[in-house]
């Protein structure tokens, strides 16, 4: 608690040494600015990298379990009587596709598997050939329920023309590059040939440009039913795709839901280990810089207050002789530290916001030809408050030691002139 006496002495010290105070406020302000700037820019870059990596893929994929071939000599170990062993030839092995037959039964439980789940999409995937006139190209075929799959990849939002949600059997939606290569526009006809040679005709219902190379180039979407037909999967699907509100929680959620499912559950992290390591090391570098900045700011406040305490040694002594308690003297200098930190925040936060807004206003042409900001900048009020709190707590800690020293000044030493 501060008193009128504590407040007035602290304020006067700061006002009287205005140059010193402004210098310290500047140091704290720059620290706050750096915290806000680094977290926002590096955080935005990381988000963009992750979005570019995960934007076109599910955060969690639920697939049929892998079947591991077992040697005949291992059957006894598995509890199977070798006497009942039948030996024969597996005909047409490639046809033995792994698929999920009873996916309709599992869909509701996946929908409610975790509060973080935002979308679950049953998907059939496979290779197909797209033919039009003399042009023929291998494409990745995805049979989906558009309303659900749009939650995994936002095709609808990226449409250049046509529609995705609400597409009908016989419709095909494809990327702009593929459409351009084939000279396709809306309502044009195109033919897809499945891996087993089954051929179906489709009408172009939508053309999109998501910005994700793997989706825009060589990928086509048809309805789930058409996909199942073309890939001859009957009523089965290849996998479930799951999107989460927090993509960093993917691995934990995948581990949590896996035991309750007879399927293989894989998070995007497992498929992108290097990316995760890169992001983590980038985050560590950022945190290291932030810690250094915070420490520098603390030293700034601390060193100024040490100077103030040293230069005010006699005044502190006389105040104590006149009846100021050690606690009151200590409070004066802690309050000074807090005020310097607070004023530093008042300077640093608006400067940080202005700097970020200026950076956000920069426009450039991206590799996909889109005009946009090279920085992904989202000014987070929580970050602004957090950076201010860090600075203020640092100020309090940095001022504590010189303040304690001030509180311990012995008035007798001052009176003796030593």
């Amino acid at each position: 608690m501060t008193t009128y006496f504590i407040r007035s002495v602290a304020f006067r010290h700061l006002r009287y040494s205005v140059g010193q105070s402004l210098l310290t406020i500047g140091v704290v302000g720059i620290s706050v600015l750096l915290i806000i700037y680094l977290r926002t820019i590096i955080g935005g870059t990381q988000t963009r990298i992750v979005q570019n990596t995960t934007g076109a893929i599910p955060h969690i994929t639920v697939e049929p379990p892998e079947r591991t071939p077992v040697g005949a000599w291992q059957l006894a170990n598995l509890g199977i009587d070798p006497d009942t062993l039948y030996v024969g030839e597996v005909v047409n092995l490639p046809k033995a596709r792994e698929s999920i037959e009873d996916w309709r039964l599992w869909l509701p439980s996946l929908d409610g598997a975790d509060p973080a789940v935002t979308a679950v999409s049953p998907i059939v995937t496979g290779q197909a050939f797209m033919n039009r006139g003399s042009r023929r190209q291998s494409v990745r075929l995805a049979g989906v329920i558009p309303e659900r799959h749009n939650g995994i990849v936002e095709i609808e939002k990226s449409l250049v023309s046509g529609r995705f949600i609400g597409m009908s059997p016989g419709d095909i939606v494809l990327g702009r590059k593929l459409a351009t290569d084939f000279g396709l526009k809306l309502r044009d006809k195109v033919r897809l040939v499945g891996p087993e040679g089954l051929t179906l005709n489709f009408t172009v219902a939508g053309i999109y440009n998501t910005g994700f190379g793997q989706v825009d180039d060589g990928q086509v979407f048809v309805t789930l039913r058409d996909g199942q037909s073309l890939l001859e999967l009957g009523g089965s699907i290849s996998s479930f795709g799951i999107k989460l509100a927090d993509l960093y929680a993917a691995e934990n959620i995948a581990r949590r839901i896996a035991p309750g499912l007879p399927f293989k559950v894989r998070s995007w992290v497992v498929d992108n280990p290097n990316l995760f390591v890169t992001l983590a090391s980038q985050g560590q570098t950022r945190d290291l810089i932030l810690i250094m900045t915070t420490i520098a700011s603390g030293f700034g406040i601390g060193s100024i207050l040490v100077m103030v305490v040293t230069s005010k040694y006699r005044e502190i002594g006389i105040l104590k002789a006149m009846g100021a308690t050690p606690g009151e003297i200590q409070s004066i200098f802690v309050l000074e530290g807090l005020l310097l930190a607070f004023l530093g925040c008042l300077a640093g936060v608006p400067l940080g916001v202005v700097l970020l807004k200026a950076l956000a206003a920069i426009r450039s042409v991206g590799p996909d030809g889109r005009v946009g900001s090279p920085f992904l900048i989202e000014i987070d009020p929580v970050l602004l408050v957090g950076a201010s709190l860090v600075a203020i707590v640092t100020g309090a800690i940095a001022s504590y030691f010189p303040a304690r020293r001030a509180g311990q000044v012995d008035p007798i030493q001052v009176i003796r002139g030593s």
Partner: protein, 243 residues
């Protein structure tokens, strides 16, 4: 006889440094009544400043009892002693140690400021009056660095009376001033003591000032050399030659 503002009963002080004991004051007993102007004299290292610090509750005795306005204060904790100093005692030191960030009036009111804004306000008129009395009416709103040494010490004298104390302790208040300023400050303290009824206890090296005190306490090697009492004429010089 009025109640003494300060009473010492067999007070002693010994400093301890590790196993080494350094006795400084021995078995001091005397009392000081309101309005009395007392000079404490003695050679360097005689223990006079230590005595002043004990009476001013800046230090604790290792033997005996000290009472301020009848209340035993020898065993008060640090907070209790600070509160007593703030509320009932005044101090003047050789160096004025005014706060350069505050004006003359604010410096004079500083002990009141420690007791809160309302108390400070209630004492402002009196402090203006006293600062005018000491000839600083034109300087109320200037800062200490703009004053001469004598003017600054006059502010310190007024400041010592801010809380209307029972007793003011002055440690060589003229020691850092030229003779003219020193005389002015001394006369001022005497006048204020007489008019306000506040007891003043002044440590001084200057026998001329000591001779003008109501009473002189001479300390030599930690003991009172002459029995405390009103000095008469040249008693000081005869009874207590400088060591």
């Amino acid at each position: 006889m009025p109640q003494p503002v300060v009473e010492l009963d067999r007070v002693g002080k010994t400093y301890y440094t590790g196993d080494v004991e350094t006795p400084v004051l021995f078995d001091l007993s005397f009392s000081i009544v309101p309005g009395e102007f007392v000079a404490i004299v003695g050679g360097s290292g005689s223990g006079k400043t230590t005595l002043l610090n004990l009476m001013g509750l800046l230090d604790r005795p290792t033997a005996g009892v000290i009472r301020v306005e009848g209340r035993e204060v020898s065993h008060l904790d640090e907070l209790g002693r600070a509160r007593m100093r703030r509320d009932r005692l005044g101090f003047i030191f050789q160096f004025h140690y005014l706060l350069p960030e505050f004006t003359v009036l604010e410096n004079a009111l500083m002990p009141c400021r420690m007791r809160g804004r309302e108390f400070e306000k209630s004492r402002e008129a009196r402090m203006r009056e006293l600062l005018t009395y000491v000839g600083l009416e034109e300087k109320l709103n200037v800062r200490p660095p703009q004053l001469s040494g004598g003017q600054q010490q006059r502010v310190a004298v007024v400041r010592s009376l801010a809380n209307d104390p029972a007793v003011v302790f002055a440690d060589e208040p003229t020691g850092n001033l030229d003779s003219k300023s020193g005389r002015m400050v001394f006369d001022l303290m005497k006048r204020l003591s007489r008019e306000s009824g506040t007891a003043f206890i002044m440590v001084t090296h200057d026998d001329n000032f000591a001779l003008e005190a109501d009473r002189v306490i001479r300390i030599r090697d930690g003991r009172i050399q002459a029995p405390p009492g009103r000095h008469e004429g040249t008693e000081l010089a005869v009874a207590a030659p400088e060591a």
